[in-house]
């Protein structure tokens, strides 16, 4: 049971991101590098928030504190990477073989968002996955047997959310749309704080709202990137 569970959860969490990577990123070296750079920036933000958590000894058990600051740090680093990418657009234009990278500026946002999401989900899930593969199994001694699968599903939603957030966020700064910036930070806080309920086993109360937020954010990101109802219809009809 352990090995199938391991593979199942791995594919739930990382299957869609992997597909996104293979089909939209792997072909272009510049995108791969941006992806890794974004991952690195996320690591930096995590490092800062962990340091803060580590330094505030009395608050170590109060996860809310760590979570709030971690979200804020992540958004700060998203802004930093936004500044960097925008200020280097010219250079990118000269270097990139695939000119779409610079012509459609949502691509940069998408790639860096995916980088954020993948590394974030990896950090959240990878040790859980390692425990999953063996020798023990979950739910034998009173623990919830849905622990792993909810973790995996949550990780997937985080990957997707980060991607959407970056698209909205980058565009919001381009167009000075403060509502969208507020939306990104707000939903990030909302989603992260909501997952605090997981500790008490309210899986439906966390997963369902999170996926609703994911779909909603996806819709906004789609609209921000220039999609319309008609274009989605045309896409479905393959025209």
């Amino acid at each position: 049971m352990t090995l199938p569970e391991f593979f199942g959860c791995t594919f739930i969490a990382f299957g869609p991101p992997f597909a996104l990577f293979v089909f939209s990123i792997a072909n272009d070296p510049v995108r791969i590098i941006i992806l890794i750079a974004a991952a690195f920036f996320w690591l930096l933000s995590l490092l800062l928030s962990s340091l803060l958590w580590f330094a505030a000894v009395p608050l170590r058990d109060v996860l809310v504190f760590g979570v709030v600051f971690s979200v804020l740090f992540q958004e700060c680093f998203r802004y930093i990477i936004y500044r960097i990418l925008r200020s280097t657009e010219q250079g990118l234009h000269a270097v990139a073989e695939d000119t779409r990278v610079t012509e459609n500026k949502h691509i940069l946002a998408y790639v860096s968002g995916l980088g954020f999401g993948i590394i974030s989900a990896m950090f959240a899930l990878v040790n859980v996955l390692a425990d999953m593969s063996g020798p023990g199994t979950m739910g034998l001694k009173g623990g919830s047997e849905f622990f792993f699968i909810t973790s995996a599903a949550q990780a997937l939603s985080i990957v997707l959310l980060h991607t959407f957030w970056s698209i909205i966020f980058f565009n919001a700064f381009d167009t000075n749309n403060y509502v969208h910036i507020g939306y990104v930070v707000g939903t990030h806080l909302f989603v992260s704080l909501l997952t605090l309920l997981n500790a008490d086993g309210y899986y439906w109360a966390t997963l369902l709202p999170n996926y609703i937020v994911t779909v909603l954010t996806g819709a906004i990101a789609f609209k921000v990137a220039g999609g319309t109802g008609r274009s989605i219809k045309r896409f479905i009809m393959c025209r």
Partner: protein
Amino acid sequence: MDATSATPPDADGSLSGATERLERPPKRQQQQQQQQQRTNYGTNNADATDGAVLTVPSVVIRESGSRPSRLNAGGNDGGHSSGSGPGPSQHDIEEEQGLKYGAQHVIKLFVPVSLCMLVVVATINSISFYNSTDVYLLYTPFHEQSPEPSVKFWNALANSLILMSVVVVMTILLIVLYKKRCYRVIHGWLILSSFMLLFIFTYLYLEELLRAYNIPMDYPTAVLIMWNFGVAGMMAIHWQGPLRLQQGYLIFVAALMALVFIKYLPEWTAWAVLAAISIWDLIAVLSPRGPLRILVETAQERNEQIFPALIYSSTVIYTYMGTHYTPEETLPTATATATSSPSFSNSTTTTRATQNSLASPEPAAGPSSSSTRPGNTRTNQQRQQDNPSAAEEEAAGFTQEWSANLSDRVARRQIEVQSTQSANGRSNEYRTVTAPDSTQQPEAQEERGIKLGLGDFIFYSVLVGKASSYGDWTTTIACFVAILIGLCLTLLLLAIWRKALPALPISITFGLIFCFATSAVVKPFMENLSAKQVFI
């Protein structure tokens, strides 16, 4: 166990100590050669101006793709191109051209580095043999048995000093041998060390692999496998074989060496060695009398490749010279030849290199080139021979855009091509003498792929492997990302400075910082979070 413990450093001296270096046949060298040629074979005007342009040391930084995070900094160092009038534009184009491939180069190094780390991490996690240190190398006499951190600390320091002095001595020995042109000794040394890695250590690896998975195997089968694997490896590395096979073997050898370090070095010593070797790398490559710098410069002076057993060559193809001798030829055919026959010569491009490879199909006909460098001629020859088979393979790796834009690039390259025309005339003449029927074959093209010393592979993998041996995957991933970013930065600096750079310092520094920070600070935080299923 004495025998095994004695062997690694041999390989270490040659593989790691000597070669952690990132080298790209620098432009400056090329110019130098061009100027040399000019003096030798007369010049034309284009050549002269081009040479002048090329000697402008500054680089206009167009690079941003390969390292977006640094771009604002990059923009500032932008060109103070004080160069001659018509120059900058050409120079710019060329720069851009060079950097355009930068991103691709980076990926071509990312893949093998990641593969090497993957092998090491997978082995560490599945074979417990490599996880525990019970036998020690001869070079690390202090075994860190004491529970006291202070004792461990000075043990680690002493061990790493001893090991580093071995590496330094070996490197200097290699340089002296190279300076004295004792190629046979060096080749013998390299062959011996790769022989040991490919047979003895692979056998140990196989044994532990089988033991870990509890697979019974009889000795004849094992010997058969070992023989085939080892001999194929020796042939691929030192003689001839498909490029991919050679690269694969080099990666495997590096991974094996890294595993040996992880297995036989005491814990703290391993970290101390990583820090020490990156400092040594910095000194050896950058200081004016640094041994590795001398090695690179001597190799460039002599127009030779550095020994294939020491260097992983990404062999990204720049067909700069591939089309240059037929400017009147129509572009389509030129592109066709260019795509179908990427360069596999490891030599940096120069007249001599061209001569060399031209002579190589019939070595007897080229006594001038083959007399001084038997080894080199032979490798060139072999590379030429297996061009066709490997060419397909390589061509398959090209992106669509690459071939689509090729004609455009070839046209641009003609600019550079003009500058090498003197070489051109010479080589044409040479060819008609030696190999009249091979005029349709493209001559040796300039190979401007990035080269990464195997030592870099080894120590990157040691870092990641050591990090993963603590059983925490977040640390491993953090180290991996940090090393890749460090490599990116190094390559960005390479694009700016255009000279051989040490690849270890930045990456290893990042890796060490992230390794310790993650395992000390981030890991408890993340464990806390993931135990409660909190996602940030």
